[in-house]
């Protein structure tokens, strides 16, 4: 689910593994560390892709399971016990970026996608 490249080259691209295979999302430079962007998946679904402060990329489903709204990409990143999470912008539930698990409600998870940086 997470991959880091050593030196982010200027043309580094961000790729995401969808059921149809790897596809290129955008240039890495379009992402702000600590924030996310929403990605339209080939099947019409939506993912939320984030960069943490160290430049690691993560992707989870964009749908906030508590409200049904597609907004997780607009939450704030943080870390709990060294594990990065995003806090939903609606009701602030936190989701572990690596596992998709909700940290505030056992049993609730969002999908996780594999991402990588290339180039």
């Amino acid at each position: 689910m997470t991959t880091t490249t050593e030196a982010p080259a200027t043309t580094a691209m961000l790729q995401l593994l969808s059921p149809e295979g790897w596809f290129t999302v955008c240039e890495r430079s379009l992402l702000t560390p600590g924030r996310g962007v929403a990605v339209l998946l080939p099947d019409g679904g939506q993912a939320a892709v984030f960069l943490d402060r160290a430049g690691r990329a993560y992707a989870i489903g964009n749908r906030d399971p508590f409200s049904g709204a597609y907004v997780l990409s607009r939450g704030l990143l943080g870390a709990a016990a060294g594990r990065p999470f995003v806090a939903s912008p609606l009701l602030k539930q936190r989701f572990d970026l690596a596992s998709g698990a909700c940290l505030d409600d056992d049993g609730v998870t969002v999908p996780v996608y594999e991402v990588r940086l290339t180039g």
Binding site: V25, Y70, A80, D105
Partner: protein, 861 residues
């Protein structure tokens, strides 16, 4: 460019869930529906609740605390606006009288009939009254509802002696209550010991001694044969099975409870031979459209549970199943910890040692009334136990049930000085250990949080019987740590001082230099990022940061509202609130707002803040909308920020026959002066033209009321959930004096308040209160005023409209797209349906399996 929403009419009428019984479990079920987005407000089913009692659900477990001063209102389990917020229809004092399963309808006593798709019975229990002669005499009571307690309290005023029939959990509680009402109290228990269900013989004996020492008379091993009454029909005494008689003025029956299954019987649902509505593991009755939960249900393990924790589990199970997920209730353990009449009593697991080959480790001290027993399996695992008189270890021992104890069991029961006790702190528990058994919350889940209120809110742990609270407290970071969050050990005002004196202009720098050890170099969290972002923004000119909240690193700190300079709505769309200073607006500008709203298909509403809110914009529409608004001379209204909102005004002297000053002009001047000022919480103000106060200035953080001699300044007012009238800070000020005083007041507040602390809460909290604030800002007791004024001058000078800056910068505009990889694609999940000639969010397309979303195939987790 005009964009009209595609209205998709609702297709199906939402299904209806009818809940019969609004007790503890019924309410928990409603909360579970809300948590799963199944309530009408979330676009789910219609939900109707029939409540027999004259009041909504309350905490029956703590019923007795009524006698120690807890009011019925305080016992309520229902947040004030819960029903409205979730759109639930609650019928108080109107029980269900009949169910027609064929027609799927429920009829209430008042004659209302509701069709249902799903029916949930949560009717609880009724107290069992043994069929002894005289049981209905005046002065005989049961102990189940607030109304029962009110009646007992009233009758006890004229009584001297009381007797409780039943020496179980509730009987002892009732006895304690009678004693508290000043009655000579007797307990009559048919079994040979007290609390026969919970404790064993040794425990019962320890309990008996302690309770007798308190002056209660206990009669065990005897039954009640008759209640005797005088010629007026009032109780005079009881005849007991051993031939003796007991004189008493009042009798409380507490001989156990029976499930309230009559409604179910009447409509032909299957009930158990000894009562209880038969349900399966999903809490479904013999009719799949009908569920039964709580004390009225006969669970799939053949038991009726008379405790609230299993009831709550059933509530969650039923809600989970109704939501379309998988859930089951297969039984629960009957662990309890109580403080009965001041005596700790706890039992957990296999308390009676029923398992084959198990051994008891017992410690008993009859002088101090302490009895402890641990039941240990052949392989050394802890199976259960009973603790009487000293149940401190309950919180740690119960979660260890089923594991091999890390120390010899006798060390755990012996008192200090006799080789024990080894205190097994909660830190020795595994993460999976269930700490709160009422809500089934593990240690791991609790440790995610920093404070008890947060744990209660997020996990519900500690909100049932409360017996786990002590251990929860021990598991959390200790409260001496007044730090902002897990990343900073400093308070907000300390961080403000650090930023100000060291001139720190970056969050990362602050985190790495002043964060907690483990947090340095990390990602921070959603609490400290916006807080520090706000501190840096309010000090921007002084620390040399950009005043624009989306510049560089600051962009990553802002909550989503500040990030998009608009307010996020429930369906992921945004609302837009242009600033209308003082509420004054020209017809031309009104027309522009109308045109923009029409062209973009936005819902419009006059706000409570004297301006106009435009709802339903997609992220990618925000810059287009603002281009039009900025062209027409509008600015950001900062409805999204922790910053100045509005300065409301009344029409004032210019038009109003009573007005003594120009309140509109003052409101506009103040709004323009403080616009964009970032603060610990939002700031609101108002100016009234005379003492009639039409602008409601005393409900504001700083409110101004005109006088013949100038202006009176009031501070610390608040609307919202805890309204507070503002206090007078200074009187008869000139325009210039007024502005200078507000400058100082606001900057002093920004400097010293906690995160999300409105001026009202701040004023009540800080040492010295209003007098101290007056000393500082009026009399300059700290010599700070020059600096406070300088900081405000810096803010006023540095102010730029955030939206004008944004639409003029292509780099900044780039983030206003829904999809980074498809900038032109609109968000397919943001849709609307018509309502009252405007639009509202289409929540149906957001609905769906709200919980348990599966991980996509082929993705690592």
């Amino acid at each position: 460019m005009p964009v009209s929403p595609t209205p998709t009419p609702r297709t199906a009428v939402p299904p209806t869930i009818v809940v019969v019984g609004h007790g503890m479990v019924g309410q928990r079920f409603l909360e579970a529906l809300a948590e799963r987005g199944l309530t009408p407000a979330a676009g789910g089913a219609r939900v109707v609740v029939l409540c027999e009692e004259p009041r909504p659900a309350y905490d029956r477990v703590h019923l007795t605390s009524y006698f120690s001063g807890t009011s019925p209102e305080e016992l309520s389990l229902v947040e004030e606006d819960f029903m409205e917020k979730h759109g639930i229809e609650l019928y108080v004092g109107d029980p269900a009288e009949a169910v027609d399963r064929e027609g799927r309808t429920v009829t209430s006593r008042s004659g209302l009939t509701f069709g249902y798709d799903t029916l949930v019975l949560a009717t609880g229990s009724f107290p069992f009254v043994p069929p002894v002669p005289g049981k209905d005499a005046t002065g005989c009571f049961v102990y189940r509802t607030i109304e029962d307690l009110l009646a007992i309290e009233e009758y006890a005023k004229t009584a001297k002696t009381g007797a409780v029939v039943g020496g179980g959990l509730l009987g002892l509680e009732a006895a304690g209550a009678l004693r508290g009402l000043g009655l000579d109290t007797h307990v009559v228990e048919f079994a040979p010991r007290l609390m026969p269900v919970q404790v064993d013989e040794g425990g019962g004996a320890a309990l008996l001694r302690t309770i007798e020492k308190m002056g209660l008379s206990v009669h065990t091993g005897v039954g009640t044969q008759e209640v005797t009454a005088g010629p007026d029909g009032a109780v005079t005494g009881m005849a007991l099975s051993d031939g003796s008689a007991l004189a008493t003025d009042l009798v409380v029956f507490s001989a156990g409870v029976r499930p309230r299954d009559q409604l179910a019987r009447d409509c032909g649902l299957e009930v158990g031979p000894r009562g209880g509505i038969v349900v399966d593991e999903e809490c479904r009755t013999s009719d799949p459209a009908v569920f039964a939960i709580g004390e009225c249900a006969l669970a799939s393990d053949g038991r009726v549970y008379g405790l609230v924790a299993p009831g709550y589990e059933m509530a969650l199970t039923a809600a989970g199943v109704i939501a379309g997920g998988q859930a089951s209730f297969t039984g629960a353990d009957m662990s309890t910890k109580l403080k009965l009449l001041g005596v700790d009593v706890a039992s957990f697991g296999d308390a009676h040692g029923a398992a084959e080959g198990c051994l008891d480790v017992v410690y008993a001290d009859s002088r101090s009334g302490v009895y402890k027993k641990l039941v240990i399996g052949q392989d050394g695992t802890l199976l259960g136990g009973v603790l009487v008189g000293d149940a401190d270890q309950y919180g740690t021992l119960r979660p260890m049930t089923g594991t091999v104890l890390p120390v010899a069991p006798e060390q755990l029961v012996l008192p200090a000085g006799a080789g024990g006790p080894v205190t097994l702190g909660p830190s020795s528990l595994p993460n999976e250990a269930v700490i709160c058994s009422c809500h089934n919350v593990t240690k791991g889940a609790i440790c995610e949080h920093a404070t008890v209120p947060e744990v209660k809110k997020c996990t519900k742990a500690g909100t049932g019987c409360g017996s786990c609270l002590k251990v929860i407290g021990q598991l959390l970071p200790q409260p001496e740590d007044a730090g902002l969050c897990g990343c900073f050990a400093h308070t907000r005002s300390e961080l403000y001082e650090i930023v100000r004196t060291l001139g720190v202009s970056s969050y990362a720098e602050l985190l790495d230099s002043h964060g907690r050890e483990g947090a340095r170099g990390g990602d921070g969290c959603e609490v400290c990022k916006p807080t520090v972002g706000s501190i840096i923004a309010s000090l921007a000119p002084a620390v040399g940061a950009s005043g624009y909240v989306l510049d560089g690193e600051q962009a990553a700190l802002q909550d989503t509202n500040d990030h998009f300079l608009a307010n996020l709505q429930r369906n992921g769309s945004y609302s837009i609130v242009p600033r209308i200073p003082g509420g004054e607006i020209t017809p031309e500008k009104l027309i522009v707002i109308g045109e923009v709203a029409r062209d973009f298909g936005l819902y419009t509403k006059i706000t409570g803040g004297q301006r106009i809110d435009l709802f339903g914009a997609r992220v990618d529409q925000l810059p287009l909308i603002w281009t039009r608004l900025v062209d027409a001379g509008f600015e950001s209204g900062h409805a999204y920020g922790k910053s100045l909102r509005t300065v409301k005004s009344c029409v004032g002297q210019t038009w109003c026959r009573y007005g003594v000053q120009d309140s509109v002009k003052m409101a506009i001047d103040l709004e323009l002066r403080y616009r964009g000022l970032r603060s610990p919480h939002k700031l609101k103000s108002a100016v009234s033209g005379c003492a009639r106060e039409c602008a409601e200035a005393r409900g504001k953080d700083f409110g101004i009321i005109a006088t013949a001699g100038g202006w009176n300044l009031y501070v610390g007012g608040n609307g919202g959930a805890t309204p507070r009238h503002a206090d007078l800070l200074a009187q008869d000020l000139s325009d210039a004096e007024l502005v200078r005083l507000i400058d100082r007041f606001l900057m002093f507040y920004i400097r010293t308040a906690d995160r999300l602390e409105r001026t009202s809460a701040w004023l009540d909290r800080i040492e010295g209160g209003l007098d101290h604030v007056r000393d500082v800002v009026v009399h300059d007791s700290l010599g700070l005023c020059d600096e406070l004024e300088r900081l405000m001058a810096g803010h006023v000078e540095g102010y730029r409209d955030e939206w004008a800056e944004t639409i003029n910068d292509p780099e900044r505009l780039r983030r206003f797209v829904t999809f980074v990889n498809a900038p032109d694609a609109p968000d397919p999940s943001v849709r609307f349906v018509p309502e009252r000639d405007q639009i509202k969010p289409d929540l149906d397309i957001l609905a769906g399996p709200v919980l348990a979303v599966r991980t996509l195939e082929g993705s690592a987790s």
